[in-house]
């Protein structure tokens, strides 16, 4: 990005974007405010996946399980504990971190496809437990009407809450990617053997990346509880994981903001297409094929390529 835009330009555009995001609820109808909240938190989820996928080169096939676990932990903490709801927003990401630590330790010994498949297996186990444990998680009905603190219970305040948390999270993730740790992670992606040679502890770096990604996925899950007031088992199902992967691919997984863009495109398109046909997944599938064949670096990757050619 820096090579294409000058730093000054980037800051100005970012500032304009921020102002637009902040004044949206003043003139947009309620439904669109809700929609943008969903886009923001899904974008956060996709960006967190991209830390391990695009920058870490790890085949994180079942990212949704950390998202769902965060959402369930938040909702259950609020409902069952009777303590202040704010505690739920703390517990959600923590549970995701714990889960990604456990799953990471088990899976990290394997590489590439085996890693992904073992992760799907463990994630399915979590899904089944949530799906079957009616008395605790509500089974396939999920949990509806999670009570929230008054300050964030209206759609507009939930939007601002989501916006602020998402922006902070995105900023922290950006800093992580630009830190020495982020560089080491990309080095591992490009050449694990050489990274090991120059003294980088490959497994430890990868595990830390998994935990970071799990943490932000958990935050996204907690935000979903704020915006939608519900949790349901589909949030941990593997098809959602592949949908997030699609968002990363569509936006461009070698660009930091690519997954955000991908999430926005897919959610807007789904909302738009669903209004006049029930065959949304057909459209998504065909779109996917086009992206794979003609835009292997995603939309943002394509734009960057064009811009750098011009200059």
């Amino acid at each position: 990005m820096e090579k294409v835009f000058s730093r000054k330009k980037a800051i100005i555009w970012g500032f304009i974007g921020l102002i637009i995001l902040f004044i949206f609820p003043l003139f947009l109808p309620r439904f669109y405010v809700y929609l943008i909240s969903i886009i923001l938190l899904t974008g956060l989820l996709a960006t967190s996946l991209n830390i391990v996928l695009g920058y870490g080169g790890i085949f994180q096939f079942h990212h949704a399980v950390f998202y769902g676990a965060g959402a369930y932990a938040t909702a259950l903490m609020i409902i069952k504990s009777g303590l202040t709801p704010w505690l739920g927003f703390l517990v959600g990401p923590l549970v995701s971190v714990l889960l990604s630590l456990i799953m990471g330790i088990i899976c990290i010994r394997l590489s590439k496809l085996y890693f992904g498949m073992l992760q799907i297996s463990l994630g399915s186990l979590v899904w089944i437990i949530v799906y079957r444990w009616y008395s605790f998680t509500g089974g396939d009905d999920g949990i509806h009407g999670v009570p929230l603190p008054d300050i964030i219970s209206s759609p507009t305040s939930a939007y601002y809450f989501t916006l602020v948390i998402t922006l902070i999270s995105i900023f922290i993730m950006y800093k992580i990617i630009k830190s020495p740790f982020g560089s080491a992670l990309q080095g591992i992606r490009d050449n694990p053997v050489r990274s090991e040679m120059i003294g980088i502890n490959v497994k430890r770096h990868q595990l830390l990346a998994l935990i970071i990604a799990g943490f932000f996925a958990g935050i996204a899950g907690s935000l979903f509880v704020v915006v939608d007031n519900t949790v349901f088992p589909d949030m941990l199902f593997w098809t959602l994981s592949l949908e997030i992967l699609i968002m990363c691919l569509l936006g461009g997984w070698f660009s930091f903001l690519g997954p955000m863009l991908g999430a926005a495109i897919i959610i807007l398109l789904r909302t738009f297409v669903s209004t006049f046909t029930s065959y949304w997944t057909l459209v998504l599938g065909i779109l996917m094929m086009f992206v794979i064949f003609f835009l292997p670096n995603g939309v943002l990757g394509y734009i960057e390529e064009k811009l750098s050619k011009k200059s």
Partner: protein, 299 residues
């Protein structure tokens, strides 16, 4: 006789047989998946959708032929062939241009296919449950040790399983195509260099693998309600079986299916509510002990 009956109380025995007939379906589907994964290196998520298409085609075929024995045998022929035709179009049309790309791209392409197939099935057959009648010649029960009744159709499945395994073994090990495919799995460039058109060999393997998915779908149709979404759980199970058995290894797929099927059916006895947890736990246990699967992988 009494002793055996005592050791295996009838309940456990009948669950074992239920598990074994489930194993047959799992094996047929996952062996196709394993073949494709081992030779072409495609993690074919659309395999489950092909299985579903096979089941729906079997429904239509048996309706057209009137639900009798003829309908059943015709469905066993037509459903796999129809699925094979679809996979031929998909392979020649799209997949063959992507073999050099990353696994992740291939995985996502097959996922795109599964999304498209899912909606196409909804368009063609609708969203309602369909049930395929058990063919008249396989209605009724056989009696196992201790006079235990066991559905004749499931017994038929137990016979089909080994037949498929042997035929597949013969194709892979004794035919020329199979030998070339195994060689190409190890070193594609070398096979290309000696003047064999690997592209078409890959197509054959892909079609055989998908044909097995269709066959699995046609075989399972009389025992379950044929419905949208039947692909989601099955593809997950098939992938786990393939990983557990060792990628690309057909006997590994058999072993994996056996473990998975039995863990599923016996788990329900131990803990009815969470019985479904056991096969997944078995997979994790196996992969912790042997990270690359039980048997030798072709990768």
């Amino acid at each position: 006789m009494d002793l055996i009956a005592q050791i295996f109380s009838t309940k456990i025995l009948s669950q074992i047989f239920v598990g074994l007939s489930r194993t047959t379906i799992l094996f047929i589907v996952s062996s196709g998946l394993s073949l494709i994964l081992g030779v072409l290196r495609i993690p074919n998520v659309a395999h489950g959708s092909l299985y579903m298409i096979g089941a729906f085609t079997a429904y239509t075929t048996s309706m057209v032929f009137g639900g009798g024995n003829t309908g059943f045998w015709m469905s066993l022929i037509i459903a796999p062939l129809f699925v094979a035709l679809i996979s031929l179009i998909a392979e020649r049309g799209l997949f063959q241009y992507l073999y050099e790309r990353e696994h992740l791209m291939l995985l996502l392409l097959t996922f795109a296919f599964s999304l498209v197939f899912g909606d196409l099935v909804k368009m063609v057959w609708g969203a309602e449950y369909k049930s395929v009648p058990v063919p008249p010649m396989f209605q009724g029960y056989v009696y196992l040790i201790g006079g235990l009744p066991f559905p004749l159709y499931n017994f038929f499945l137990l016979i089909i399983g080994p037949i498929v395994a042997i035929v597949l073994w013969l194709i892979v090990n004794k035919t020329k195509i199979g030998k070339i495919a195994r060689a190409a799995a190890v070193d594609r460039e070398m096979v290309d260099a000696v003047g064999i058109n690997v592209s078409w060999v890959f197509a054959y393997v892909f079609i055989i693998g998908c044909l097995l998915a269709g066959l699995g779908g046609a075989l399972v149709a009389p025992t379950v309600s044929v419905t949208l979404g039947m692909d989601h759980t099955l593809i997950m199970e098939a992938f786990l079986i393939v990983i557990m058995g060792g990628l690309g290894n057909i006997w590994g797929a058999l072993l994996g299916a056996l473990i998975f099927g039995l863990a599923q059916s016996l788990g329900i006895l131990i803990w009815p509510q969470f019985g479904i947890v056991f096969p997944y736990a078995a997979v994790i246990f196996v992969l912790l002990l042997r990270p690359t699967g039980l048997l030798k992988s072709t990768w």
